[in-house]
């Protein structure tokens, strides 16, 4: 089993993984309050995000996931409730809010549409510059984050608008990584890319996590992709958290997932069908390799008997 933090408190050191970095407390957000367009986007959400974990937030369009993540770096402030970063309320003052923007990096959907500088290098340097870092530090960060996303020196002087679609996306993500946030949040980072492009982005994110030990939160509607990368899945429906746990725990509740209008990973679907046909296979499996080894074990068992 992966780290499945269920514990509420952990005073001990050495249990770093169980320390929450972000805490969402009784969060409710209502858009256009007091007008006929009033609309509750998220309702009474409580969630702890632990240091170094990889959390995937899954839900249909309109389930409140975008609203939720924009609270985490203070772009939206709560109607009710609060967001704690390392125990401190991020909306306490202008300064805490500013610091939060640097500590919690947010990559929006289709981030390539935010590129604006003349060169890739300058664009990636935009964030670190805003942080007021010195020149050498900015240079180090730009180089490192471009390396993480696999854009070598030959791209430094290139115009970001001459890059291919996938490269643009990676340059834009590097722009947020260069701020070296403790929590990196990505909204649909692979949307619209071809399989190769998706693989590259997933690889870049993993790379950043390994190097920095940062906490990763991704928002997606792709169950299979979420499950194969994340430690925990948080499934949202109608502005609330519907399911929360490891991929195995979540996929064991297949019916509820389908009720929320979400698709199970194809692998899980096949395993469920096999189970219904009478084969003794685990149904919470979601990776191709795990499914294959479970099936081979089954075959081996039969041949042996």
């Amino acid at each position: 089993m992966k780290s499945a933090p269920g514990q509420e408190k952990s005073g001990q050191k050495g249990m770093k993984k169980l320390d929450p970095i972000l805490e969402i407390v009784d969060l409710t957000h209502t858009y256009s309050q007091g007008t006929p367009f009033e609309h509750v986007a998220v309702y009474n959400i409580n969630l702890k995000v632990y240091k170094g974990e990889y959390l995937a937030i899954i839900g249909r369009t309109g389930s409140g996931k975008s609203t939720l993540i924009q609270h985490l770096n203070g772009l939206i402030s709560p109607t009710q409730g609060k967001i704690l970063l390392n125990g401190q309320d991020i909306n306490e003052s202008k300064e805490t809010l500013r610091q939060t923007r640097f500590k919690v990096g947010l990559v929006f959907q289709y981030p390539e549409y935010q590129l604006f500088e003349e060169t890739v290098y300058d664009d990636v340097a935009f964030g670190p510059k805003n942080m007021g870092l010195d020149k050498e530090e900015i240079d180090r960060r730009v180089r490192e984050s471009l390396e993480i996303v696999g854009l070598g020196q030959e791209y430094y002087k290139a115009s970001p608008f001459d890059l291919s679609g996938g490269q643009k996306r990676r340059a834009a993500i590097a722009g947020v990584m260069a701020m070296e946030p403790e929590v990196l949040i990505l909204d649909e980072p692979t949307a619209g890319l071809d399989p190769e492009g998706c693989r590259e982005i997933v690889e870049n994110i993993r790379n950043y996590r390994e190097r920095t030990g940062a906490t990763i939160i991704t928002v997606t509607h792709d169950m299979a992709e979420a499950a194969s990368n994340a430690d925990r899945l948080c499934v949202m429906g109608n502005g609330k958290i519907a399911l929360l746990g490891t991929p195995e725990e979540v996929f064991a509740r297949a019916d509820e997932i389908e009720e929320l209008g979400l698709d199970l990973p194809e692998v899980t679907k096949i395993m469920i069908l096999l189970k219904r046909k009478g084969l003794d296979v685990p149904t919470e499996v979601y990776k191709i390799d795990d499914a294959v080894s479970a099936l081979l074990k089954l075959k081996g068992g039969r041949n042996g008997a």
């Binding site: 369009t61 309109g62 399989p195 509607h221 194809e266 096949i270 096999l274 009478g278 294959v292 075959k299």
Partner: protein
């Protein structure tokens, strides 16, 4: 007679300053039958969208010959004849909606074709019904979801009553629900009206629903056949930067591990059946 017929077509975009011209399409030949459902696969930059633009005279091949409904696309006088019979639906639904009222947008095509007002009304109502958006006829399109907007874009094409519709990565920007709805409409059009469908995509599960898959790489056709034949070549597909459906992957791995199992299976149900038969 084929609906679309490409004979050895090649195409290069005009060179930009300081850049090398490279062939986007390099000797492509194929024929698409009336009433068929063809998927065109390929990674980004493989030339598949450029090819789609050749279908309705947005681009003309540099060399070779492109015929649509037996009309050469070079014939400038017949551009409208071709365009009203072959509709294109594009990737970004926002950028193909012209009007700020749904029904006015759907009417745009038939209005351009100069039909009388009652005829346009009839077509608009029918098209909106086909895509299940009749309730939104007088809504503002910018307030709809991505999937709903794409349905409006499809309705706009349907109102011209085309014989063939080309979906140029029309599902790429949609959420799973929007993608499902779009695929449902595609299947319905084929079944109900016998519309010829060309689906350009990089979602394997969508391509698997077609009668035929054409795979493009660097402007050349590298694979062409029924989906189960194409996807059975797992290694080749992967080497082209694409992927096969997850079920096919499982079967492929089982086969490699020595299980006697046919690989030509695509859907979740087919795969489950095949695995069950091989193991039980």
């Amino acid at each position: 007679m084929g609906t679309i017929k490409a004979e050895n077509i090649s195409f290069t975009y005009p060179a930009e300053e300081g850049k090398k011209r490279s062939l986007v399409l390099d000797g492509v030949s194929f024929e698409i039958e009336k009433g068929s459902f063809t998927a065109i696969l390929g990674h980004n930059g493989s030339g598949k969208s450029t090819l789609a633009k050749h279908f309705n005279c947005l681009l003309i091949p540099d060399t070779g010959k492109m015929e649509v409904f037996g009309i050469d696309t070079k014939d400038e006088d017949r551009v409208i004849d071709i365009r009203k019979r072959i509709g294109l639906v594009f990737q970004n639904p926002d950028n193909q909606i012209v009007a700020n009222v749904v029904e006015e947008d759907v009417a745009f095509g038939p209005e351009n074709l100069g039909y009388p007002s009652e005829e346009i009304r009839k077509r608009v109502d029918q098209a909106l019904k086909t895509v299940g958006m009749e309730k939104f006829a007088i809504h503002a399109p910018h307030l709809l979801s991505g999937g709903q907007k794409q349905r409006i874009a499809i309705a706009g094409v349907l109102a011209m009553e085309p014989e063939c519709i080309v979906f140029d990565e029309a599902t790429a920007m949609l959420d799973p629900e929007g993608r499902r709805d779009t695929m449902k409409i595609i299947r319905y059009l084929k079944k109900e009206f016998g519309t010829t469908i060309v689906l350009i995509t990089h979602h394997m599960d969508e391509a698997a629903q077609a009668d035929r898959v054409i795979v493009l790489d660097s402007g050349k056709i590298v694979m062409d056949g029924a989906p189960r034949e194409v996807f059975a070549q797992v290694e080749k597909i992967r080497s082209l930067g694409l992927d096969v459906p997850a079920g096919t992957s499982i079967i492929y791995e089982l086969e490699r591990a020595g299980v006697d199992i046919p690989i030509e299976n695509l859907t979740v149900e087919e795969c489950a059946d095949a695995i069950y038969n091989a193991l039980a």
